[in-house]
Amino acid sequence: MTQSPSQATSELATSPLTRTQHLDLYYYMQLNRQLEERMVRLFRQNKIVGGLYSSLGQEAVSVGTCYALEKRDWIAPMIRNIGALLVKGVPPRDIFTQHMAKFTSPTLGKDGTSHFGDLKVRHIVSPISMLGDLIPVMTGVAMAGRYLGQNIVALTWIGDGGSSTGAFHEGLGLAASQRAPFVLIIENNQWAYSTPVSRQVPIQNLADRGAAYGIASTIVDGNDVVAVFQAARYAVGECRAGRGPRIIEVKTMRMRGHAQHDPAEYVPREMFDYWKARDPITLYEKYLSENKIWDAAAKSEIDARIERELDVEQKFAEDSPLPPPELAEEGVYCDGCHKIEADWKRAKSEVSPPKSSIDPTWRLKDLPAYTQAAIAGGNGAKNPSQSQTPAAAPASSPATQKSAAAPERIRPQPEPPATHAANAPDAVAEEPAVPRVPFGRGPKDKAFRQSPENPQNKPAYTRAPKEKSFAQNPQEKSFGKGPRQKPFGKNAQGKPFTKNPQDKQGRR
């Protein structure tokens, strides 16, 4: 696997690929496709016991993005990112054996598909089937890598469908607020199982969502592997330089059903026709020929190599045994089977007291700027994508204190509704002018309770004296009623117990 060393980001986007890099991209895309075609045959022979999810037509996404990473970087693939696993150096036999539930697979047969990882060598986090969860997890990977001084980038993929999950939004919110070196590839393959994008998301481009988080995003043709690679290389470089997370939306097409059982008859024929003419491998072969990067001999040499490799790998998988049944009982806990040790690339003293100690207060640097922004909205807000705040510190904080000795939280000014009117036609209506009608006895309605209209003008329910606020009860009190009687482990009579032999009579 060839990977370029990190360069200045300005060069990254434009520097041309070497011939070796060009041929690498072809090799991995073709390997990805041929591997999956073989798995389709194995599936039809009932040699793949579970599901098989095809990435046909999406090879340029997996390969082009992952090829932009360095060896130390972390990925978390989705089921249609087998190409990324190959680029990371996973041997095809691991993918065969995973699908065939063999004992020789990375999970020993405990899980299938691309659900496996490698923490130590290749830095791969296994996905789970629930979509979106990898985004906060990889945000954490990115944060930990930064904390340890490893200068890594964490990258994962999500489909158009997965971009509607809560985990997607929570994860991006955290990644943005932490300015984590995290790249998200939104793989827009037009279909979430059988539902087209237009019925999931009422916007044209999923990349637009980045703006809401203050995350820079870009859109790229997912069937053009060079374009995908260059976009990813730029994003990775920006991330590594500490400029916060990045989103890349790749437009592509899932050319098969959700999985093998699904003939995808719901996809309009013209859509398949359009994308078939834009097959990423065919397009790339044409590109390589037109730019005289290769010739027919080079292509057939690579193709033959792939066939040879896959023959060996497939045979290994087919000859492998299934796991022994008793394996099912093993491995729930790590009982010392793993040595857990962080790979520190910075001095631990930097994150230990006294160096780590800070003044734990929020501060306001520029009061006039703050008050202006608080009322007007928008203008004063810092754009995280441009901020140069140190990585671990929150980009900005809407709170402050007046002096170190007297911390004070500032109540944010309410924003005038008018500023929202333009882009929020369904904005919440203003409070009605009429006073609130109390609900029932209205113990929560302070205004009503304190007003002279309230006939009782007092809370409807008064707490009994014993129910003091639980935070204010330093004395050792009993639970329930009465004072605590005895400390633990003592007999009430202070005597040792003797077993009454009568108790046991007549038993058995």
Binding site: A144, L174, G331, C334, I358
Partner: protein, 339 residues
């Protein structure tokens, strides 16, 4: 900018003498973070404010923003990020502001965190801790005891201590454990008890119950706040000549089966008391365990005193009806003792 460093000693390391559970938990975190820079804290409002219950008060000043990470209100992001951090060898301690909110990240906990080691050999050395339990009029969303969702999830460990010293010792064990540990802190106990900490760097082993009171007539198994109720009941029962043995589980998963079975074989009667709701509570599991392992030794039916099968109601008379208490335990034990 003139600034005087805050007096940390009062926050982080309380003066010697008996301390509350809040202080004990804070001490455990402080000591572990000082011992190992791989230990970090993550959660909502845990920094400047010091956490909703002030458990993490003072940690930010001492360890800085890289190690005391304040997050958006996003429980799935908190657990996901902590999990990702653990993959690189860190040992994050994630706070749920109230443990009720762990429902927001249920998928992340049960499908990602819990299954990683079994499925693909990735240990997840993280702790999820947070205030739980009722009796403080917190209402239905700030009083829950959701431990059994997680006791039912292979791959997790679940701890629910009842005393300050256990809380400290068990939290330290949890942080050093290579597995994901859920650490429930009963908020009723946070400031009501004080206890002297054992000296030095001490830990309490995970998975070991403790006999709080010895007895011969029946065994009361309980944990967390109800362990205290059980002891109070035992004292009442002793006045009537019924000597109850009280077991405080401390760890719910893995369960200390041996201590339970040994005690039941001695007393021949079992009463389980828990604050969790009745159906699917751990009493059912313990009953099954005793039927499997000590059926011949039983002199009476397995009894249980639990909360009602309802959400936790808010109003004091309702919550009082909902929760087990000493009277209910004494009454159940009296009936059981007649066999």
């Amino acid at each position: 900018m003139s600034h005087t460093a805050p007096n940390l000693s009062s926050k982080v390391v309380p003066a010697s003498g008996p301390i509350t559970m809040v202080d004990a938990i804070r001490q455990a975190m402080f000591e572990e973070m000082e011992r190992d820079p791989a230990v970090v804290a993550i959660g909502e409002d845990i920094g400047v404010y010091g956490g909703a219950f002030k458990v993490t008060d003072g940690l930010l000043a001492k360890f800085g923003r890289e190690r005391v990470i304040e997050t958006p209100i996003a429980e799935t992001a908190i657990i996901g990020a902590a999990c990702g951090m653990s993959f690189l060898g860190l040992r994050p301690v994630a706070e749920m502001q109230f443990i009720d909110f762990i429902a927001c990240c249920f998928n992340q906990v049960t499908n990602f965190v819990a299954k990683s080691h079994y499925l693909w050999g990735a240990p997840v050395p993280m702790v999820i801790r947070g205030p739980s339990g009722g009796g403080v009029h917190g209402g239905p969303f700030h009083s829950a005891n959701p431990e059994m969702y997680f006791v039912h999830t292979p791959g997790l460990k679940v701890i629910y201590p009842s005393t300050p010293s256990d809380a400290k010792g068990l939290l330290k064990s949890a942080i050093r454990d290579n597995n994901p540990v859920l650490f429930f802190e009963h908020k009723y106990l946070y400031r009501r008890l004080k206890e002297e900490m054992p000296p030095g760097d001490y830990t309490v082993p995970i998975g070991k119950a403790i006999i709080r009171r010895a007895g011969r007539d029946l065994t009361i198994v309980s944990y967390a706040a109800m362990a205290h109720t059980a002891i109070e009941a035992a004292v009442e029962l002793a006045k009537e000549g019924i000597e109850a043995e009280v077991i405080d589980l401390r760890t719910l998963l893995p369960l200390d089966k041996e201590t339970i079975l040994t005690s039941v074989k001695k007393t021949n009667k079992l009463l389980v008391v828990h604050e969790d709701t009745r159906t699917g509570g751990i009493a059912g599991e313990i009953a099954a365990l005793v039927f499997e392992g000590a059926f011949e030794d039983l002199d009476g039916p397995v009894a249980r005193v639990t909360a009602l099968d309802t959400p936790v109601p808010y109003s004091p008379p309702l919550e009082e009806r909902f929760l087990p208490n000493t009277e209910k335990v004494v009454a159940a034990a009296r009936e059981l003792a007649k066999y």
